[in-house]
Symmetry: C2
Subunit: 620 residues, 2 copies
């Protein structure tokens, strides 16, 4: 695989220079971009493309293709130069870099068919690559390799070390991390500058095989890639010492040259030997077949009796297990709390498709992102509160166009004694603000089970919120819950207001309605199980017919159900009277009932609010 033939090495060196020239040209045409960060890694890229990567650019969906993740996404000019060298992108397109409408964006996204996941938020390439490598080993069971090219600055991100731990623990010898140690971060030197051994010690401490090389010595690079490919039982990290801006004296290894075109592109191109076009015949993968995954199995969701008390987290675990039985593309991940979230039901039934991610929520979500990029349908679950840990990964997953199910348990103050650190009180705001997301919050077990199944066929980032405590079953087994819908559970022509809840607050709304009915006050009750998209038509009708809407949620007042309802009336037409009941206090420890009462989201508080509203309407 490796060679010391001087002629062949010259060709590699030539290709490296071509990649540099093209990076300089692209950034110059754009008037912005990161040529110097591209130039440091050009030789690493040249050798990979020519000698080690197996990829069919005509068939990005080829199951045997290696995966290449450019974690240092700002070095996109290098990636696009690689595409040009591989004949996948022509010179004209290369020079559309960063222009409006071009798929060659400032940071790569899957608008490009050869890009699996968006990068540009540092420290995400390796975590996602671990997900792909896990899929390769345990699901696809194919010999493709995952190559991650990372910068040195991003090694400071904790997510890299969550991934390093996960990869070594799972013996991912199909994964290679290439660290481009070019010494300079955005605003100056990195912590470890040229100390390759510092990175080596850390990675070896985590159980990796490491190789330290001169990242501009094509022969050393070639040998290192070959060694990585032949290393068994461990992931390999190639720690490559390079020079930022390599090959152009005006910028090479100089501070203040990050993220901008070269000052004199023409001179730089000349110094690099001028434009050229070495085309690389990238090796294609061997024929490969994915294990058949299908959804032809009959889905038998769990059934519950009306009035039975079941926690929605239990229904999640049971429905997910059933889904796993019927659909072979469904996989589950959890952050070492599967006994609480109930992901353990799935783990016991389908251990081959369960992935324990331990207490590392960034890696939990990243692994799921990697698996969906390989065609699987992941459900990743932890406490709703701790999904905030992975917010940036969710944000980037949306940019990746990822098809992903995320499930957060232990919603709100209703968890009781454990106190605020364990309460999901911001999760609805977080997930609603994600581009193209779906946000679901079931109030009983049958609804939870149906929504778990609905999620499998939805688009984008799908979030399901579950409760810790039991709620009574109110829906029969034939009820359906389409995404974007709602259920009107109580309605009459004399309704003085509409109560809107979801999850356990829906039951508080029902109880409040019953209390008020005894006083002669009739109210409508809507189960807003689909928090995003929201059922605007039903809300509009309720507003027109009842005049006032009251939202009740176990969440902070901002960005959750109150906001979802308000947004339904942001079309310039007259809006109804609105009241938001939500958690405005800082909870401590207390029973679930005490918590809900203290937060003012229990049935008594809801009834009191409606009385005030009705009184005011009469006065007005």
């Amino acid at each position: 695989m490796s060679t010391t033939d001087p002629a062949e090495n010259l060709e590699l060196t030539e290709l490296g220079q071509q990649l540099r020239v093209d990076a300089v040209r692209a950034a110059d045409a754009a008037g912005s971009g990161h040529p110097t960060s591209s130039m440091s890694a050009a030789d690493l890229a040249a050798v990979l493309l020519t000698r080690h990567l197996h990829y069919d650019f005509d068939q990005p969906e080829h199951p045997g293709n290696d995966r290449f993740v450019l974690s240092k996404g700002h070095a996109s000019p290098l990636l696009y130069a690689m595409y040009r060298a591989a004949g996948a992108v022509d010179d004209e397109e290369l020079l559309t870099f960063r222009r409006h409408g071009s798929r060659l964006e400032g940071h790569p996204t899957p608008r490009i068919p050869w890009v699996d996941v968006a990068t540009g938020s540092l420290g995400q390439g390796l975590p996602v690559g671990v997900g792909m490598a896990l899929a390769g080993k345990r699901l696809d069971q194919l010999p493709y390799r995952v190559w991650v090219l990372s910068g040195d600055s991003e090694m400071a991100e904790g997510s890299v070390w969550e991934a390093a731990e996960h990869a070594a623990y799972e013996n991912l010898d199909n994964l290679t991390l290439v660290v481009d140690v070019n010494r300079l971060g955005q605003r100056g030197p990195t912590r470890h500058q040229r100390d390759l051994a510092a990175y080596g010690r850390r990675l070896r401490g985590f159980g990796w095989h490491t190789i330290e090389i001169d990242g501009h010595d094509v022969d050393a690079i070639d040998l290192a890639y070959a060694e990585a490919r032949s290393t068994e039982g461990q992931p390999t990290a190639i720690i490559a010492g390079t020079r930022k801006g390599r090959g152009v004296a005006a910028v090479e290894d100089r501070e203040g040259m990050h993220g901008k075109p070269l000052p004199d592109a023409e001179a730089a191109i000349e110094e690099l030997g001028g434009p050229r076009f070495v085309q690389v015949d990238v090796a294609k993968p061997d024929a490969a077949h994915l294990p058949r995954t299908d959804r032809s199995g009959h889905l038998t969701l769990p059934r519950y009796e009306l009035g039975e008390k079941v926690a929605t987290r239990d229904a999640y675990g049971q429905a997910l297990t059933a889904l796993g039985t019927a659909y072979s593309d469904v996989v589950a991940l959890d952050g070492e709390v599967g006994d609480s979230t109930r992901t353990e039901f799935f783990a016991k039934e389908h251990p081959d498709r369960y992935f324990e991610c331990y207490i590392a929520e960034q890696q939990l979500v990243a692994a799921a992102v990697g698996m969906q990029a390989r065609g699987y349908t992941p459900y990743a679950c932890t406490f709703a509160a701790f999904l905030t840990r992975a917010h940036d990964f969710v944000r980037m997953a949306a940019i990746s166009g990822a098809e992903l199910n995320l499930v957060g348990s232990h919603a709100g103050v209703a968890i009781g004694q454990d106190g605020p650190s364990q309460m999901g009180l911001e999760d609805l705001a977080m997930f609603r603000s994600v581009h193209g997301s779906t946000v679901l919050y079931p109030c009983d077990a049958p609804q939870a089970a149906k929504l778990v199944a609905e999620m499998a066929g939805a688009r984008g980032i799908r979030y399901l919120r579950t409760d810790r405590g039991e709620t009574p079953v109110i829906y029969g087994p034939d009820e359906t819950f389409p995404i974007g819908g709602s259920k009107v559970l109580r309605s009459g022509s004399e309704d003085a207001a509409t109560l809107i809840g979801a999850g356990h607050t829906l039951h508080a709304c029902l109880r409040a309605a019953a209390i008020l009915a005894t006083e002669g006050i009739e109210v409508r009750v809507i189960d807003l199980y689909s928090v995003k998209p929201v059922d605007e038509a039903t809300l509009r009708t309720a507003a027109d017919e009842t005049g006032a809407l009251v939202t009740v949620e176990d969440h902070h007042p901002e960005g959750g159900i109150g906001d979802a309802v308000a947004e339904a009336f942001a079309d310039g037409r007259p809006a109804p009277r609105l009241v938001r009941m939500a958690v405005r206090n800082m909870p401590g420890s207390a029973t679930p009932e005490e918590q809900q009462s203290a937060a003012g989201i229990d049935a008594d508080s809801v009834a009191a609010t409606v009385r005030l509203l009705v009184e005011r309407a009469v006065v007005a």
Copy 2:
């Protein structure tokens, strides 16, 4: 400091048993809690309290006090048992554990005077401890030590490794991490179980001094603490092998015993030798004086000319520098993007109070949390998009009651070519949903400067959003911008609608108003620089007088300015007609102008929307 006197060691062992008994009793009284996680670390706690901690429980504000952070916050019964042993909490209060109104919550919070920061979201104790230790070394310059007691499960969190890197790089020999390796996580064995060396290799790889011990051997523990205290130039980790539920055969080292009271508390207490009360005379610190920090200096904010074009990020950097000159308690931190965020202005002027956190946003926020716990006023800054990385730390900081300034630059699509990975489009939703937060978004340089100063005196988590591009100065030097206020920039009796913007969209609103005026349509314009709290009175007046409100924001539609305005009308009174203009597309690369046009938040789009609104109102 260490001893092998058998009598003294017996006393330590006795204290360990007492702490176990009290943990069992507290959880039993509460009917929930984590006694087994407390019992594994009881000997580690007993030796620390008796021999090594310096703390005056009567004076938690004593500047010489050591800091003790219980990172494994679920082991709160152990902490409260320590307080009882130290005479700080009596037996009656101990048994209020987890009851409504008790300060002894399920996870510790600063409602207790001896707790500096809330814990319970794992992997946060060490990062915050690093902030305290940095304060001790570089700001307070006092010899107190920071002790962090961590679980083994939480070592999987990336944030621990961000902190490990930061601590070793800064040579924090005043910091000791004690890892309670009890083998069992919540749902079963940890990755490394009893392999103490696995933790040792990782921490040594990061540059730590490590000591592996039997965590139930009080003499070994004593020696290890002494060694940690005498180790210079490096932080020390004591990796202690322990047994979960130690001392009670029914639960010791058994799976399925996490997070619940002991099955037979009475028998367990008997097995542990029965209740007892060894009171510990905890060593008090030597007299110590903090360096004088004051705000008596005269604050001279930067001045700008009307019409001058200045980016608000520049004004942030300039104002922060001025603040640092006037107020000696102000410190600044940045995530290795200070050249872009402009924190570098402060770093150059006040290098002694600048903390480079490199690309590690969790550690960036955690270090700031640690420093505010020591009485400083930190400003921590990175791109708004990357603050999502620290969401869980911000959430926990709110539970800690932290006084913290966070600044996010590069807001929205207006950053231009870099594309969506770098755009803060969810930050307003994230920060608004934080309990007790303040959210500010200035539109010009003088306003930005004034708000940077306002933040220093505000409460809770304060967030400031800055723009990358320049905006014209519209406010004179004497204008004031109180938190919770707004500015009506254009107003008349014939206003057909109200445009509401903040940051650069305020200027789009002003331009749209000018366009519309040429067509005979007058609109009001409000600068909503205080997004939370929001100026309800001014919005209500605008609604009453103009009938329709149009919000314009460079942010996703959920949870931001549109929501802030809607929430102002959630008091049950009639709401006005509302329209939310926000970023609903997935941006690619393009110029700032193209981006704003594509997202429909530029002046032309705003004007078009108002025309439609006015037309519809006429028709209706």
